[in-house]
Each structure stands twice: as C-alpha cells, then as structure tokens.
C-alpha cells in the first residue's frame, strides 16, 4: 500500500514487498499516468556502468560508478516529469540519497527562493542547448529543476544560487534508501533531489518509471 499522505507531505515514500516489474507498473499507475519510453515500454532498466560507453552528458559518462550528485530527473524537459518510481528486486549495496529541496528552501533564508526565481541556467544535452529557469509552475503547482550535470548558471543570480543551494543542502539532512531487495520508492521529482552512492557490484540494475 502506498502512503499517499506521506508522498504529499514529504515528496517521498518507500514501498516494501515489490514482487515483479508488473507490480511496479501497478504501483506507478496508482499514483499517476505513466510516460512510455520511445519503444512503448513503461519501465526503463538503468544499469550502473563505468561510463566508457555511456552517452556524453549522462551521469554515467561523467561519474561512472562514483557517487552521482543530487539532481532532479528530466530537467531538460520544458515540464520535468512529476514522479519518479524506482524499484529493485535484488539487493544492492549502493544506496539512493534524497532530499526535499522545497523544505530546504522554506527553511533557508528568504533570499534563496528569491535567487531561485531570478536564476537562469543554460541546459546542455547531446541534443541541444537552451536556457531555462529553476522554478517552474504548471496548473498552479510550482516545482524545482536542478541538474548540475547539464545545467550551468547563465546569470549572476544563478551563480549565487548555486553556491547558496550547495550550502543549504550540506546543512540539511538527506535521507537514504537502502536497497535490500523487493523495494520500490516513489519520489516527487518537482520537490526532491536525489543522488546515488558509489557502486561496487558489477551488475546493479534499477527499474525506473516516469509519471506525468
């Protein structure tokens, strides 16, 4: 059962007892509409790798098996995906860290939110480069996009925001998901940053579904 109240309040919820890929899809569908991959499938299997063969601009290319910095997913979309459903059937020693950035910003001095609103970043992927804002909104709901792997500050406010956000994050407590097997995690991608710890095993695979 998904604790929807916790998901709404914390932007995050863990679900134990994940049985299969079909079960993960079922969980995802109970939260929102699944965004299919270009081949029509709903689940992506993300394999940790050393980055040698990874596409330029991806986390694996930049960090390989080292820890991934905190980020939101699909920051390059004009409207990033709302929820991220992650699942692992087998255990993994590498954990997922996450932090509710909206809560961090609410607790930080008011200036941080002002800076976020004034910040403009340049997003560069292998497909295109474009400008974007950190704060966005859709149908009255606002969200944060932040991916230091592809976003670089384009104005003075963004340069300052980068420094102050790093400071605010380092002073706040992040939570850790330990993958002991048969577990799913649902993250509000408009509120939470997530990252991965160092990977030591050779065949770590995580299942991922994006929700609208």
């Amino acid at each position: 059962m998904i604790d929807f109240k916790a998901l709404r309040m914390d932007g995050f919820v863990e679900v134990e007892g994940l049985e299969s890929e079909e079960h993960l899809i079922e969980l995802a569908k109970s939260v929102g509409r699944c965004l299919p991959n270009p081949d029509g499938s709903l689940i992506s299997t993300v394999r940790a790798n050393n980055g040698v063969c990874a596409r330029q601009g991806t986390f694996s290319h930049a960090y390989g098996l080292s820890p991934f910095p905190m980020h939101t997913d699909t920051a390059y979309n004009s409207l990033p995906v709302r929820y991220l459903v992650l699942g692992m059937l087998k255990p993994s020693e590498a954990s997922t860290r996450h932090i509710n950035i909206k809560h961090v910003m609410q607790a930080a001095p008011a200036n941080l939110l002002k800076l976020a609103r004034e910040s403009i970043y340049l997003i560069e992927t292998f497909e295109q480069a474009k400008y974007t804002s950190v704060v966005f909104s859709s149908d009255g709901v606002s969200g944060i996009r932040y991916d230091p792997n592809i976003m670089s500050p384009a104005n003075k406010s963004a340069r300052q925001f980068d420094l102050e956000l790093a400071e605010a994050i380092s002073g706040a407590e992040s939570k850790e998901v330990c993958w002991r097997g048969n577990k799913a995690v649902i993250l509000d991608n408009w509120e939470c940053l997530h990252g991965r710890s160092k990977v030591v095993e050779s065949n770590r695979e995580i299942l991922r579904i994006y929700l609208e």
């Binding site: 004009s78 409207l79 295109q128 474009k130 804002s133 104005n155």
Partner: protein, 317 residues
Amino acid sequence: MSWDKDSLLAKSKLYFERAFREDRADDVFGLWCAMGLELLSRSTIAHFSPVLLAEPDKDQKNILSALGLGSVTAHRKSIATTQVLNLCKELIPNFTDAELKIALALAGRRNEEVHSGVAAFVEYKHQQWIGGFYKCCKILAEIQGESLTSLFGEEEAKTAENIIKGMNGELLTKVKGLIAAFAKVFGEHEESDQARLRDESKKQAEILSHQHHHRVTCPACKCDATVQGDTYGLEQIEHKDSEIIVRQSVLPTKFSCTACGMKLSGYGELTAANVADHFTHRTHYSPEQYYELVDPNDAEAMRSYAEDHGYYHFSND
C-alpha cells in the same frame, strides 16, 4: 529547436539583464531591449500554445517540432516577428494598436541594426520608445502570469512603472499648451532682450552641466536649458590608471529654462515636451576617494577616520 515558453522566457530575461547592464545612451541598450522583447512576445504566444509559433508547412514538420515530437536537433522554421506581434494583438485585449506599433518599430530597428550598415538605434532616440517598450513588456509578462519585477528585477521594474504612469494623453495636451504659452511670452520680448536671455541661459547651462544637470534645448524658447533626474540601474565602474569613473543612468524628472522661465516636473511632462532622453552621470574619483583610503602617516586623517567610525582613539601623549 526550442519553442517552449520556459526557455523563451528565460532567454528574454537574460537579454533584458544584458540590456540593463549597458549605458542607456548606448545603442547596444536598444538592441538588447528589442531582442528581449521579441523573445518575450514569442514566449507569450508559446504560453497560449507553442504550435502557434510554427511556420505552416505541408509535411507539418514544424508543428511536430513545436509539439515536442520528431527530431529535437532538426532546424524548424518559426513564424516571423511581425506575425508573432499580430498574434499578440489578436490574443491579448490590452495589447492594442499602440503597443503593436512600438513593438513593430523596435523589431524593425533590430532588423536594420543586424541586416544593414545603419546605426539603427543611434537615430531612434531612447525617449521615443522606452515608455512603449516598458508597457509592451508589462502586458506580455502579466498575460503569462509574470510581472515586471519577475522580468526585470525590483529596481528596474519600479523605474518602468513610473515611466508607464507618465504616459498620458491629457498630459501631452497640457504640456503642449504650456510650451505654446511660454513661447508666446518669450517672443514678445524685445530682440535685444531675447539675445541677452539666450546668452545668459547658455552660460548658466554650461555651469550646471558640470553639476549633474543635462543640457537640452528648451522646446518653448529654443534657448539652452537643463534637466535633472533620479539615478537608477547598475553603477558602471571603470578603472583607469589614475582615476575611477562611475557612470549611472538618470531618469530625467525636472526641466528648467532660465531664459523663458518654463519649468516641468515628472517624467511624463518631460516626455510630452520631448526633453526626456535618459542621460548618464559620470563621476570621477581618485582611487583614494573611491576606496576611502587613509594615509596611515597622516595623523589628522587617522584621527578623523577613527572618530567617524566609532573607534576609541587611544593616546598616551
């Protein structure tokens, strides 16, 4: 090709930031403003639907691109700026003919600037377009849930709002009447008196021009007059070998002519009288003055510094 509202709006903000870093009297200021306004008008149309930005084509590839379908890297064709601005007029009730006219004029100047050898923004005076430009920005920002503050930042937005308030048709009639009245009175003076007043006002304007006044021609008597105003925007600091020059833009708010006695107050009145070109204050400092350096060997200066800054001055003399 990215025609989504977010990226177009972010880019327009960036262009406005670049504009406001420039000296207002510089032609580059006008160019950045014009390009920022063009992006803002496109983000406005994307707010209604990015599909409206796609140039119609028989294979509908441009529309696919606007919908975020098909290849991201393919170069697609968007509609011309004239069409974008006409769509703004069609879709936004308070984007009237007046706003369309000024936005088209700025787009035309931008075109001339980048497509020809003409110094398009040198001959297109700041006061001719700045009020209309700010009004266009306000309307286009507000229709997409933004504001002048979120677009320009607090200080620039305040200046823009003041300038917009000054744009008033009744004021124009009042100021034109005032100019005609002062011109008539001045014309009734003896020619020798007119020459004397012209001569005196020229000398006075020369003196005042070194005291943060800006010299202009009086619209009533055509003698030398001056305007003063309020500084706004970023200070531009230039370090030279032996001096530091600080420049800051000035929004003119007071006009005074010593020859005919006409006085005007407020940016709106000055705009109506055609004497509202923004100008720049230049202040020259020595490095010692600018950084408030104190020679440690100068006992008097050190004592005065200590007193000014609340330090206890110890002496065992």
